[in-house]
Symmetry: C2
Subunit: 491 residues, 2 copies
């Protein structure tokens, strides 16, 4: 286990907090609730961004940029939205500082009070729909398929790096459509894009589902979600896609002339994932030795560590290592040859384990004599001697295998943690003793949902999209139910 | 000339404002001074970002992310910095809104006043050096070579799209070094990276130089700059790189143990370019028909427009067009086949000229019969028939030629607009009658510089790095001078 890293079994939450800092992913800043994303953490986020951005573009979306600040009055336009987002937020009230007449430093200039306060965007539906009003007049202007990569701010009281921070980075897609059907299809399509990304890039299995009314985005008619399960049996909402109906079009008076030459309100979706995905990534795969990263998102996919005593030995190893590095780069694999003379191999082994580098190649004089190297994989912590001949190709195959393996491991775990229950007693027992997702009948009311939450802290994560209709009785009220919902304690 | 676009000769400023909007690059928003960057404009910015980011990484830099908000007191730590940046800025004073007890909507909750006000970053030296304090203790921790892509905000009174907006997008590099020499070399290296990008990607020739004391960044010991010349003879500062000495290290108490085991303050640089580059790009090349984009930054490099009357004709053209598009894509060229039936070819020609698409291919039934197509280049507005055989390769060469040609055109113009003068009379005459850069002797004092600015509005843009020492007399005071400075009216 990594030096100074609390084991997961001892305190999962502390393990997470320590790992984020020790692996150089992020740290807290001088500004309450705002994080610094360190270069190694940001490199992972950049890989996520690139992959997602490519997927958005393949599905016909374009990027744009909208203002950071939102006039206070905009938030009040959509009744539910203001309840959800206007409360805990950063409010800009002045636009100037001046030298403190009574001392050192600067103070707010009372003469520079804004006529209307501005809010740092907690999400951008309002400012974007106010903009779309000028872009849309006819069905020919539709659809609009915009995305933006941006920072947003929600004044959270209790924050945790990546999982819940006042400022975070995200992307928010905002689309406008001529028909309800098209908008609903878009919201579902983007949910599939998110699920595809989570499973095939992050190696994190997710349940695709729809939220209960109670858990919907403020202003949405339907919120779709991907829900992942962390190693401690708690669920993490990892991405959401909202069918907004005509709510924002009505709030900002965005109408268009349809093909029948009639005025109609525009249909909308919005969808987003954020740096919270970093939390999902970390908690899905990592272990007591540190990070375990899926090769597709690892900033360094292969590290080569030389084992030597004399300078001549290093020279011989470096020749082999550089040749291997060149071969790997030619295959599109990122590689680092760590010939830092100040650190011992043992220190490097632990360091790259902590950082989650998927494959480690170690080479000593004897390996060179034998024409081979020691290859260690981070996911299983196993080692194997492999000949230099064809080594780059072998490592490429190994990286694919690691990507598949950590997904399978996470999937097997997740599947083992979905428990069907038919009574409330069973529900509470499973929740305490096992955790994970609990599949149970529910009468469909917010009242029941909230009572279960009050009594057990479990919430409805979603009604899975692939669930089959099934007649049953609500575990709480005994009223008839037509399908199961997925409950869990969540982050 | 494009419909409704004011000619440059009539009103250059109005031409620019109209072009930015008509070409779908950006527009003003509901928030004073903040712009919406529209998808077409953002696509150009993304190409700039990608190219710059690759260059930063090639020179050893990594990306990171630091908080949007800066505690007010941080700004006061560096005496000059606070004068330069703490005055016109967005001040966050509260963290909550509540329902208006006296009516509709929401109001600021007076109970949610922050203990210390937070400023939306106008630049990030202070928050970053406060962070670096925890990252640096030994020379082994140096250098730190971080960059961040971010939004920043400066409360500008008079704003213009891209050129001067309250919120803008940029990158800011912040590096920390063990020696003065290394930091100075870094500041100059990044200036060369900027110049390389401006000339080889944007096709904008720039003068590399150092700012006079008066025009330095607030807190810098030296500010290096790249200065471009717009078609109206005004200069545009396009990127700056600052040698910050130990000012920020001292302000935030960032010391390290050097190789001699002594405590020393860390040496710093910072450097940035912003969405202002979009303004430089537009004003360097575009004409009365609209945008002229360098092929390397054009979102659409080639557009194919079919000329047809009957559906069968379109089908035959589409077959050829799709084959050409596939060939072009295989060569890494972005292409759009515009078979929109709702618009006439003439409308499309004007539209893609307005949007600055470098190469237009038109194909009609007769062209197909002759086995050729009409190729039009945006930069020279010339047309030529070319055979289908080998057309994609020919277009690839043509794009290279356009990139080179618009750079040469801009360079010839810029070179013709650098005028050496030796008297103040001449200086004022050239400024009024010709504009452009004026190379003149100056006595090196801020006093003289400010008097010249007051009387003529011209400022010292820089002392060019490649200028040769030359004895002369200051045009204003007649005092001895050892080198010429470059003056201009600037944006």
């Amino acid at each position: 286990m990594a030096k100074g890293l609390t084991p997961r079994s001892e305190n999962y939450s502390q393990w997470y907090n320590e790992l984020v800092v020790k692996a150089d992913l992020a740290e807290t800043s001088a500004v309450r609730g705002c994080m610094v994303i360190k270069p190694y953490g940001y490199a992972i986020w950049e890989k996520m961004q690139r992959a997602l951005d490519d997927m958005f573009k393949e599905t016909g979306h374009v990027n744009a940029y909208f203002p950071l600040l939102i006039p206070k009055s905009f938030l009040s336009r959509e009744a539910e939205h203001v309840e959800g987002f206007a409360k805990e937020c950063a409010v800009v009230t002045h636009h100037r500082l001046k030298n403190d007449p009574n001392g050192k430093g600067v103070v707010v200039d009372p003469d520079a009070k804004l006529e209307e306060e501005l809010i740092i965007r907690p999400t951008s539906e309002t400012i974007i729909w106010n903009t779309y009003k000028n872009w849309i007049s006819s069905y020919r202007d539709l659809p609009i398929l915009c995305n933006q990569w941006a920072n947003v701010m929600r004044w959270e009281m209790r924050t945790r790096l990546f999982l819940r921070t006042a400022e975070f980075l995200w992307q928010e897609g905002h689309t406008a459509h001529a028909t309800r059907e098209e908008a609903e299809a878009e919201a579902q399509k983007m949910l599939r894009v998110y699920a595809d990304f989570a499973e095939n890039w992050m190696a994190v299995p997710v349940v695709k589902g729809v939220k209960s009314a109670n858990e919907r985005f403020a202003g949405a008619l339907d919120t779709y979600t991907i829900e992942a399960l962390m190693q401690d049996g708690k669920a993490l909402q990892s991405g959401t896609s909202h069918f907004l109906g005509q709510n924002f079009a009505k709030a900002f008076d965005v109408q268009f002339v349809n093909k029948e030459n009639k005025l109609e309100y525009v249909w909308a979706t919005s969808w987003g994932v954020s740096t919270r995905l970093m939390g999902a990534l970390i908690m899905s795969h990592s272990d007591d030795n540190g990070l375990v990263l899926p090769p597709k998102l690892a900033p360094i996919q292969v590290v080569i560590v030389p084992i030597y005593k004399k300078a001549e030995e290093l020279a011989a190893i470096a020749e082999k290592a550089n040749a291997l590095a060149a071969d790997l780069k030619a295959l599109g694999i990122s590689v680092k040859f760590d010939d830092n003379d100040q650190k011992k191999p043992g220190w490097k082994f632990a360091e790259y384990e902590l950082k989650g580098v998927p494959v480690r190649v170690a080479m000593g004089p004897r390996d060179l004599e034998n024409g081979e190297a020691e290859i260690a994989r981070r996911d299983t912590l196993t080692k194997e001697q492999m000949p230099f001949e064809g080594l780059a190709q072998r490592i490429k195959a190994l990286l694919d295998d690691i990507q598949a393996n950590i997904f399978k491991k996470a999937l097997d775990y997740r599947d083992s943690m979905i428990t069907k229950v038919d009574t409330y007693e069973e529900f509470k027992k499973v929740l305490v003793e096992k955790g994970g997702f609990i599949s149970a009948h529910w009468d469909g009311t917010t009242e029941t949902e909230e009572k279960i939450k009050e009594e057990t802290k479990a919430t409805i994560r979603c009604i899975p999209l692939d669930s089959v209709p099934e007649e049953g009785k609500c575990i709480y009220t005994g009223k008839p139910s037509h399908q199961r919902a997925l409950f869990a304690i969540s982050y």
